[in-house]
C-alpha cells in the first residue's frame, strides 16, 4: 500500500467540488457530502490542497518538536527555502537560523543537486540509453509515469534525486566530524516544499528505502526561522553556504535542465503541461531531445504546496540570492568519469494499470460499451454535482458499481 501525504479534514470539507474538478488523475469523488481520495490513483501532486477554498486538505508532515530524540540533528533544507524571505541575499543567515532553532548542523540539498547535475552530464553520455532522459527528481512525475506512461519508464533517469544524495553525504560528514556518534544518534530532517516528496520519503522507491529520517514542512520551519533570523541579524553567521548558482537554481523550473550544458532540453512545469509533454514524447511527436525536466508544480519546487511565497516572487528572489555566487561549488573529483554505484537507482516504478476496468478483456469491453451508452444519456456538462469529476467518470463509477444509481445525477435530461 502506498502511503499518501494528502490529508482531509472532513469537518472543514463542504463537498464543494473544487478539488474534484482539478485533480489531474481523477482520484477524487464527493461521497457522503465530502471529498474522498482514491489512494490508488493519487500521485500526491498537491493540486487539491492548492485549490481547496476551505483549507480542508493539507499535507501530512512531522513536526520538528515531536522528533527530538536524535542526539545529532541535521537539517537538509530544499533550495526552495531560500526564495521565501524578503530582502534576503545571504543564504548563510537562513542556515544560521536553522542552527538557532535547534539543529546541530545543516547540509544543503542544493549541494547534492550540483553533484546530481554532474552525474546527469555523465549519464547522458552513456551509449544505448533511451532518450530523452526524463528527470526523476519530482516524485509526483515519477508516480504519474508509473501509473499512466509505462512506455516511458525506461526514459527515467536512474540516478537518485538530490535529497537522497544529500542524506548520504550529510551522514558521512557527521560521522567524520563526530566519530563518537552512533548511526542511531544521527537524525536527518528534510525540509520539504511539497507533499510528493513527503510520500516519496515515506514509501521509498520500489525496494529502495529513503535515507531521510524525518520530513518537516517548509511552512512549519518558516515561522520558527523568522524569529530566529531577526535575532541573528546583529551577529554574523557562523556557518557558510556551500551551494552555487546551479544548486540553488534547481528550486525553480528550468534550473536542473539548463545546468546540463546541452541545449537539447525541455523544461515543463504544472501538472497539465507535464501530461502534455509526456503524451508528446510517447507519440514520438517531439523534437530530438537529450533531457526533459518535469515539475508537477507551477514554477517548479518553489510552487510546492508547503511553501509560503508565490512561486514567481520566490523565483525572482532566488535570482538575487544567487547573483554573486560561483556557478557551482560541488564538483566531481578530477578524474571521476562515472556515477558512483550508490547514487544509481535501478528501481523502476512498477506499472499499475489503474485505469483498467477489469482484468478480463471481454468484461472490460462489455463495461466500456455500457459506459458509452450511459454517457450518451447524461447531460455532458461535467458539473460535478453527482460527486464524480465528469459525466464520463460518473458513467464509469456506475458501471464499476461505485455509485448505486443514476439518480445521483441532478440534471439528467433523459435516461433509459
Amino acid at each position: 500500500m502506498y502511503a499518501h501525504s494528502v490529508e482531509l479534514d472532513v469537518s472543514k470539507c463542504t463537498g464543494c467540488t473544487t478539488c474534484l474538478r482539478h485533480c489531474p488523475t481523477e482520484a477524487i469523488r464527493i461521497r457522503g457530502g465530502h471529498a474522498v481520495i482514491n489512494e490508488d490513483r493519487c500521485i500526491d501532486c498537491g493540486e487539491c490542497i492548492r485549490v481547496c477554498p476551505n483549507n480542508a486538505k493539507k499535507a501530512m508532515c512531522s513536526k520538528f518538536e515531536h522528533y527530538q530524540h536524535y542526539k545529532y540533528k541535521i537539517a537538509l533544507p530544499a533550495p526552495s527555502l531560500y526564495g521565501q524571505f524578503d530582502n534576503l541575499d545571504d543564504v548563510d543567515i537562513i542556515l544560521q537560523g536553522l542552527l538557532d532553532i535547534g539543529f546541530d548542523d545543516v547540509f544543503e540539498v542544493a549541494q547534492a543537486a550540483e553533484l546530481v547535475t554532474e552525474y546527469t552530464r555523465l549519464y547522458l553520455k552513456t551509449p544505448g540509453i533511451k532518450k530523452p532522459v526524463i528527470s526523476s527528481a519530482c516524485p509526483a512525475v515519477v508516480r504519474l509515469i508509473s501509473l499512466r506512461y509505462p512506455y516511458l519508464r525506461d526514459n527515467l533517469m536512474p540516478i537518485l534525486p538530490p535529497i537522497e544524495v544529500a542524506a548520504m553525504m550529510a551522514r558521512a560528514k557527521a560521522k567524520q566530524e563526530h566519530p563518537e556518534l552512533e548511526d542511531s544518534d544521527i537524525g536527518l530532517y528534510f525540509i520539504s516544499p511539497c507533499a510528493a516528496k513527503v510520500s516519496y520519503i515515506r514509501n521509498g522507491f520500489g525496494k529502495y528505502k529513503s535515507k531521510i529520517d524525518v520530513v518537516i514542512s517548509l511552512k512549519d520551519v518558516y515561522f520558527k526561522l523568522l524569529g530566529a533570523m531577526k535575532k541573528s541579524e546583529t551577529e554574523s553567521p557562523t556557518i557558510n553556504s556551500k551551494s552555487g548558482m546551479i544548486g540553488i537554481s534547481w528550486a525553480s523550473s528550468g534550473g536542473e535542465s539548463s545546468a546540463i550544458l546541452n541545449d537539447k532540453y525541455l523544461a515543463a512545469d504544472g501538472i497539465e503541461n507535464v501530461n502534455k509533454v509526456l503524451d508528446a514524447i510517447e507519440n514520438g511527436n517531439i523534437p530530438q531531445l537529450e533531457f526533459v525536466e518535469l515539475n508537477a508544480c507551477t514554477g517548479g519546487c518553489v510552487g510546492g504546496v508547503m511553501t509560503i511565497e508565490n512561486p514567481f516572487i520566490a523565483r525572482t528572489r532566488l535570482h538575487s540570492v544567487r547573483r554573486y555566487l560561483p556557478v557551482s561549488q560541488n564538483r566531481l573529483s578530477g578524474d571521476m568519469s562515472y556515477v558512483p554505484e550508490n547514487c544509481y537507482s535501478s528501481e523502476l516504478p512498477e506499472y499499475t494499470p489503474i485505469a483498467r476496468l477489469s482484468e478480463n478483456f471481454s468484461e472490460s469491453m462489455r463495461m466500456m460499451a455500457q459506459i458509452e451508452k450511459i454517457r450518451s444519456a447524461l447531460p455532458g456538462i461535467d458539473c460535478g454535482a453527482c460527486g464524480s469529476p465528469s459525466c464520463r467518470a460518473f458513467a464509469e463509477d456506475l458501471v464499476r458499481g461505485m455509485v448505486e444509481d443514476v439518480s445521483a445525477c441532478k440534471v439528467m435530461k433523459k435516461c433509459d
Binding site: Y151, N283, G284, A355, L357, S358, F361, S364, M365, M368
Partner: protein, 140 residues
C-alpha cells in the same frame, strides 16, 4: 465474443493545435480496456500521424477506431485531394506538404511510412479529387 466497440472522432481541419486530440482520447480508452502499453503506443502513433495528415492535406476528416477481441482497426477517411501516386507517397522522406507546414516541424515525409511501421496491416484507397480512406489493423 463480445460486440466490438466503436469510437468515432471528427478531425478538425487546419487546426494544428487540436490535431492529436483523437489519439489522446483513444489512448485513454485503450488503457481502460487494459490493452498492453506497447499496443497502445502503436495505435496512438498511427492515429496521430493519420490525424496530422488529414489536417495538413485534407482539411480534416473522420477517424473511427473499432476494438474487437482480436484486433483494433483504425479507419481514417477524408474528402481531400487524394493521393496521386500511393507508392511514391509511401516512400520515407517524400512529402507534398507546403513550406508553411514544414516550418512547423511537420511534413517530413514520415507520416505514412510510420503508420505502416506501427500497424500489422494497412490499406490505402484514394481517388484524386475525391478523397482518401486508410484502414489500419493492429492485432491483439
Amino acid at each position: 465474443m463480445s460486440e466490438s466497440l466503436i469510437f468515432h472522432f471528427d478531425v478538425d481541419g487546419e487546426d494544428f493545435t487540436s490535431a492529436g486530440q483523437a489519439s489522446v482520447q483513444v489512448k485513454k480508452n485503450l488503457r481502460r480496456l487494459g490493452i498492453s502499453p506497447e499496443i497502445i503506443r502503436q495505435v496512438s502513433i498511427a492515429m496521430y500521424e493519420g490525424e496530422i495528415n488529414m489536417v495538413i492535406h485534407a482539411h480534416g476528416g473522420s477517424a473511427d477506431v473499432v476494438v474487437n477481441e482480436d484486433k483494433i482497426e483504425i479507419i481514417l477517411a477524408d474528402k481531400g485531394p487524394g493521393i496521386a501516386d500511393i507508392e511514391l507517397a509511401m516512400q520515407e522522406g517524400y512529402s507534398t506538404a507546403p513550406d508553411s507546414v514544414r516550418s512547423l516541424g511537420f511534413g517530413a515525409g514520415m507520416g505514412l511510412p510510420n503508420m505502416k511501421r506501427y500497424t500489422d496491416e494497412m490499406t490505402i484507397e484514394s481517388k484524386v479529387g475525391e478523397g482518401t480512406t486508410i484502414k489500419m489493423v493492429v492485432k491483439l
